[in-house]
Symmetry: C2
């Protein structure tokens, strides 16, 4: 929900002169992307998304994100493709911010994903993992296991304001994850934030994966764990075995999980839940009273974490070993 930086018509015209996509025909700030300012840009050459990168995004990672999108689009994945300026650069500067233009993708986010959607998401995620396999770039996951204790530190004394006992529950989970986290799983580029609002559908098909600004190098199965949490719980909070099974089936139609990955899943989904408990708590506790923008509920992910603490193996997530 964000346009943090205004773009003057003169600045925009000068910026577009460094590209080969004609003059501006329309520019609308769009309510998408929490970290950046995004605009729908019409030029004589068609429709694009213009992104101004705000301070919360580390500028040193921008070349990684843009090169990754270039690589994936080249492989045929439906993702925004950076448009190069005449100089060949895909990263420029506009209104005092790093800025990029990417292609516009048709499609609409699912507000209530179906079992079939989950199968298609699994397939799309595996294709992303496959297509990124020969990508040369890498980026550490700034929000992985080693970062969680630091995220939790300032929450120690206020997490209980959100729910009594929450701080102790998080501390215990951190201790569990520290000793139980799997090692030596297959690694590669992961999206790390493939929630329903980052996937576009056109009819029944996935028409676009967007918002790669958490993409990083990490365990591939951890990406699947994030998707299980984001796509396979029902609005009433219950886990859908049918959706979980569909997600696994779609994923494995492209890339089979190793036995070690399957065995690690019950721990990975706990970590994937805790990661969003922590970041949502930070956002939740930092919102000024009465603000118009409501952050996402951290307790949704506390409930998901509790479900995962109650299960024994990946079969209870819908995984079916051969």
């Amino acid at each position: 929900m964000a346009v943090y930086t205004e773009v003057s018509d003169a600045d925009l015209a000068a910026f577009l002169e460094t590209y080969d996509i004609g003059g501006v025909r329309a520019l609308k700030g769009i309510a998408e992307g929490v970290e950046n300012s995004n605009f729908l840009l019409h030029t004589d050459a068609g429709e694009f998304i213009l992104t101004l990168y705000e301070k919360r995004v580390e500028a040193s990672s921008l070349p990684f994100f843009l090169a990754l999108l270039d690589h994936l689009a080249e492989r045929g994945l439906n993702c925004p493709r950076p448009v190069r300026a005449r100089s060949g650069a895909s990263l420029g500067h506009l209104s005092g911010r790093p800025a990029a233009i990417v292609t516009f993708l048709d499609g609409v986010c699912r507000t209530r994903p179906s079992v079939g959607d989950c199968a298609r998401i699994g397939e799309a995620l595996a294709k992303l993992h496959r297509d990124a396999a020969d990508f040369k770039g890498s980026r550490a996951n700034a929000l992985s296991l080693s970062a969680w204790p630091q995220l939790f530190a300032p929450l120690h004394f206020c997490a209980d304001d959100v729910e009594p006992g929450l701080a102790a529950a998080i501390a215990a989970e951190l201790a569990f994850l520290k000793t139980s986290w799997p090692r030596d799983l297959p690694r590669g580029i992961i999206h790390a934030d493939l929630f329903p609002d980052n996937v576009l559908f056109l009819g029944e098909e996935v028409s676009g994966l967007i918002d790669f600004y958490f993409a990083c190098t990490d365990d591939l199965a951890y990406d699947l764990a994030i998707c299980l949490n984001a796509w396979c719980f029902e609005p009433d909070g219950g886990f859908s075995l049918a959706k979980g099974a569909a997600l696994f089936e779609g994923y494995q139609s492209v890339r089979r999980l190793t036995p070690a990955e399957a065995a690690a899943l019950p721990v990975l989904v706990r970590g994937a839940a805790l990661r969003f408990v922590l970041t949502r708590l930070i956002d939740w506790l930092n919102v000024p009273a009465g603000a118009l923008v409501h952050p996402k509920d951290p307790l949704e992910y506390v409930r998901k974490l509790r479900f995962h603490q109650s299960i024994g193996d990946a079969k209870q997530l819908g995984f079916r070993p051969e």
Copy 2:
């Protein structure tokens, strides 16, 4: 800056089935319109703006606004044109809100209007007044002279928090306007909010007037006074005689001001300034501490009011009598 209501893909699909514009291809919430939720909507038939009317807009006025747009578009004015559902209705319901689809207009808002832009705005405003002359609908101006004391009432004790002495200055101005406000000027439909962010330009031409949700029946010259305030002050706060002269010239190329209107202008611009001082003060004082959305500065309009209090006649606004 607003998407207050989320639209589910299923609700949207059902809504579009009542129209003849094909299925949805993309939907993006846009950061436009303070009062409503606005979305850029792509369908098989092209691009549209979908608006969900939120509670702050009086539902009883929606048929007036949509009929006015229909009438103006029919006359050839560049404004959004309501798209009719198969039933013939241009107002429907979506996600629990009154909703309408209008045509999308190309163009970009001017962040730094030029003298030439002011001439074109004057001309566009006069065409709006001319084209609306035979429109059958009418709507009282809820933010006119008689409403200002009520707007000021809750501000009595807090206006001085914004600037010491401001409450007394507003009270004195209200008393002046009450005794000096002109009567029997030519009336008609006015836009009442034709600020630079409500005008689209394509190259040098005005390609669209948008956001008619303050449109009402009032003195035509009061609309010109609002535009003088919105378009003809420089960023440093000084009034530009050249821009004022251009605005008048553009306006009078289509519709000549009467002697009574010209004589009333110095009072009308004071009223037009005070109206925005009052509503901006309300927004300013109602913002929660630390909120992300910053309302517009009421003191900008206090300074404009002070300038108008210092002048003697319309010539000092750039008006040139024949």
